[in-house]
C-alpha cells in the first residue's frame, strides 16, 4: 500500500490505470452510501408523516376510539365525528372506477402490444401518457359540464330502465353521486393501467408466443392463455397503482360526488370520500376536536392505502405461485 502511494507520487503517469480503478472502487462505495441514504429517507419521511398524523389526531382518537371507524355521524356543530360514510364512499367510488377501467385498460393494452403495428402503438401510448398528466381539476370540470348533465338526462335513465330492479340503481338521480364520481375516476386511472400493462405485455419473451403458435394455438388463444397469464403480476401491479390514485383523488371527486356523508345502496345517490372531506373542511375547521378528527381521517386514508397495498402484494404472490410462469 505504502509502496503504491510513494510510487504514485514519484511517477504518476504509469499508475493512472490503477488509480482510476481505485477511484472507481471508492465511487462505488459513495454511490452505495448515497443510494442507501435516499432509500432510507423514504422510510424516514413516511414514518414522520404517520407520526405527525398520529400526534395531531390525539384528541380525536381519545374521544372516539375505534368508534370513529364505524360511526355514521359527521357533525361539526355538536362535535360528533365518524369516518364510516367517507370510508364507504372512498371504497365504492374506487371499486366502480376499477370495474370500468380494468377491462377497458387491459383490452387496450392487449391491442397495443399484440395487435397494433408498432408505430400506431407508440403514438397511442404517447397520447395515453399525456392523459395521465392532465390535472385532476380539468377532469372535475369535464365531469360537471359534460358527465353530470349526461348522467341526469341520458345515462342514468337508461341504466334505470335496464337494471332498475337492483337496489343499486334505485332512488332519485341528480346527476352527481357515486356512479358519476366512479366514471370520472375510471377515466383518470385508465391511462395507468394501459401504460404499465402495455410495457409488461411487451416484455413477455417472443418465444413464448411462438411456442404457443407452434402448438397450433390461434392468435387469440396465445394472447389470453399464454401472454396475459405470463404478465399477470405486472398487470396486477398496474391495477393497484390505479387503485392508489382512485383512493387518494380529491379535486375531481369532490366536484361530482355531491358531498353528502351518507351510506346508501343506490349508486345514483350523492356520497362523500375521505380525501374530499379533508380538502373541503380543513381550511375553515376551527375547533380542536374538529381539526383533530380531520387529521385522523388522513390517518384512516393512510391505513386503507396500506391495507390495499398489502392485499396487492398477497395477490401478486398468489398469482405467481398459481400461475407458475415466472
Amino acid at each position: 500500500m505504502t509502496v503504491d502511494v510513494s510510487a504514485m507520487e514519484r511517477a504518476p503517469s504509469p499508475w493512472t490505470g490503477r488509480a482510476l480503478l481505485r477511484r472507481l472502487a471508492i465511487g462505488d462505495e459513495v454511490a452505495h452510501l448515497v443510494t442507501l441514504i435516499f432509500a432510507f429517507s423514504i422510510i424516514l419521511i413516511t414514518s414522520l408523516l404517520v407520526y405527525q398524523l398520529w400526534l395531531e389526531s390525539a384528541s380525536s382518537r381519545h374521544q372516539f376510539g375505534w368508534h370513529f371507524w364505524v360511526s355514521r355521524t359527521w357533525d361539526p356543530v355538536f362535535e360528533h365525528f365518524g369516518a364510516a360514510p367517507f370510508i364507504y364512499g372512498t371504497l365504492v367510488t374506487s371499486a366502480i372506477s376499477l370495474t370500468i377501467a380494468l377491462p377497458l385498460g387491459l383490452a387496450a393494452a392487449v391491442f397495443l402490444s399484440e395487435l397494433a403495428p408498432r408505430s400506431i402503438s407508440d403514438t397511442i401510448s404517447f397520447l395515453i401518457d399525456l392523459l395521465a398528466a392532465v390535472p385532476s381539476v380539468i377532469f372535475g370540470m369535464l365531469g360537471i359540464f359534460v358527465v353530470v348533465p349526461l348522467m341526469r338526462t341520458t345515462i342514468g335513465p337508461a341504466i334505470k330502465h335496464a337494471l332498475g330492479f337492483l337496489p343499486l340503481f334505485q332512488g332519485p338521480n341528480y346527476g352527481v353521486g357515486f356512479l358519476t364520481a366512479g366514471i370520472i375516476l375510471s377515466i383518470m386511472v385508465v391511462p395507468f393501467i394501459i401504460s404499465v400493462s402495455r410495457e409488461v405485455l411487451l416484455s413477455v419473451p417472443r418465444d413464448q408466443r411462438e411456442a404457443a403458435l407452434a402448438l397450433g394455438a390461434t392468435r387469440w388463444e396465445s394472447t389470453w392463455k399464454v401472454v396475459v397469464p405470463w404478465a399477470r403480476a405486472g398487470i396486477t401491479g398496474s391495477v393497484f397503482l390505479a387503485l392508489a390514485r382512485a383512493v387518494g383523488e380529491t379535486m375531481a371527486v369532490t366536484m361530482v360526488i355531491g358531498n353528502d356523508p351518507k351510506i346508501v345502496a343506490s349508486l345514483f345517490a350523492p356520497g362523500y370520500t375521505i380525501a374530499a372531506v379533508i380538502a373541503n373542511e380543513f381550511t375553515e375547521a376551527t375547533g380542536k376536536l374538529y381539526l383533530s378528527s380531520l387529521i385522523e381521517l388522513g390517518l384512516v386514508l393512510f391505513m386503507i392505502t396500506l391495507i390495499l397495498n398489502g392485499l396487492a402484494r398477497l395477490l401478486i404472490l398468489a398469482t405467481q405461485r398459481g400461475g407458475g410462469h415466472q
Binding site: D75, P76, V77, F78, G175, G258, N259, D260, N280, T286
Partner: protein, 341 residues
Amino acid sequence: MKKALLSMLLLLGLAFTAYAQPPDNTVLLNAAGATFPYPIYSKWFSDYHQAHPNIQINYQSIGSGGGIQQLKAGTVDFGASDMPLNDQLLGQFNFKIIQFPTVLGAVVPTYNIPGVSGELKFTAKALSDIYLGKVTKWNDGEIAVSNPGVKLPGNDIVVIHRSDGSGTTFVWTDYLSKVNPEWKSKVGSNTSVNWPVGLGGKGNEGVAGLVKETPNAIGYVELIYAIQNHMGYGLVQNADGKFIKASLASVTEAAAGAAAKMESDIRISITDATGATTYPICSFTYLLIPESISNSAKRDAIKAFLDWMLTIGQGSVESLNYARLPKAVVGIEMKHLAEIK
C-alpha cells in the same frame, strides 16, 4: 480565478442580504385568514402600502380556520375570520384578542325552477323548512302563500349547500338557527354543519353551477358572487315582515340597527335584524388583533392601518361590491382601537 469567483460570490451574497433586508424603518406585517374578504383586503393593503411605503402587509387567504391557528401559534401578526371567535375559541389563546369588523357580506337564495322566471319571495319558515327537508315540493303552501300569481310546479326540491367549510355557510346557518328553533337544536350553525338534506357544491361557483345544472334546485351564494355573475336571486322576509331584495344598502342598514347592541359585545350576530328595509341574512367579517403588541413599530403600524381602514379605506369597499360599515359601528371600533397596547 478562484479569488475572482470568491469575491463574486461574496458580492452576490451581499446583494442578496441587502435585498432581503428592508431599510431600517420598514415594518413588515404578516397576516392570514378568511378568503371571503380577500379581494378588498389585498386592495387595502396595496393602497395603504402606496400611501405609506414603509409599511408592508402580507396577507395569505388560507381560510378562517388556518388564520386562527396561525395567530394562536404566533406565526402571524394578526388574523382574519368570517366567524366571530366565541369564548371557547378565545380561551385557547394565551393572549387577548380584539375583533374588528371590516366589511359586510350577505348571502342570498338562488334557484332554478323550469317555467318560473320572476323573483320568488321566501319567508324565514319556508327557507328553514326547505333546508330541514320538511318542505319537499315547490308548490308547497309555505312557498306559494308568499308568491301569489306565480305558477309553481309540483316538482321535488333539490337542496344544494356548500360542501367546503365557509363563512357563507356560517351566516346562512346562523340565520336559520335564529328563525327556526328546530334548526337550532337539530343542526345549529358553523362553517360546516351536518345537513339534514341536500347535495354539496364546492365554493360559490360549485353551488351556482349545481343550481344552474339541476332543474328544481335551490342553493345559497354570497351576494357579491351573485352580483358579479349577474345571477338572479330571491327576496327574503325580514323580522319586520317585509320582503327585501339584498343590496349593499340594505345590508349596511342591518348592521346599523345592531350597532346599539355592539357597544357591549362587538361579536353580536346581525342576522334577522329589525328595521323596515334591512336584509336579514348578512354578517361582518373580522380582523383579529392581539390586544397587546410588544413590538412598538408593529403596534403603531397596525393601529395606523386600522384607523385608515375605518375611515379612508371604507370609501373603496363598494367598488368591490362589499357593504360598508355603518357610522355607529366605526365609532365603536375607534374606541376599541385605543385599547391596543
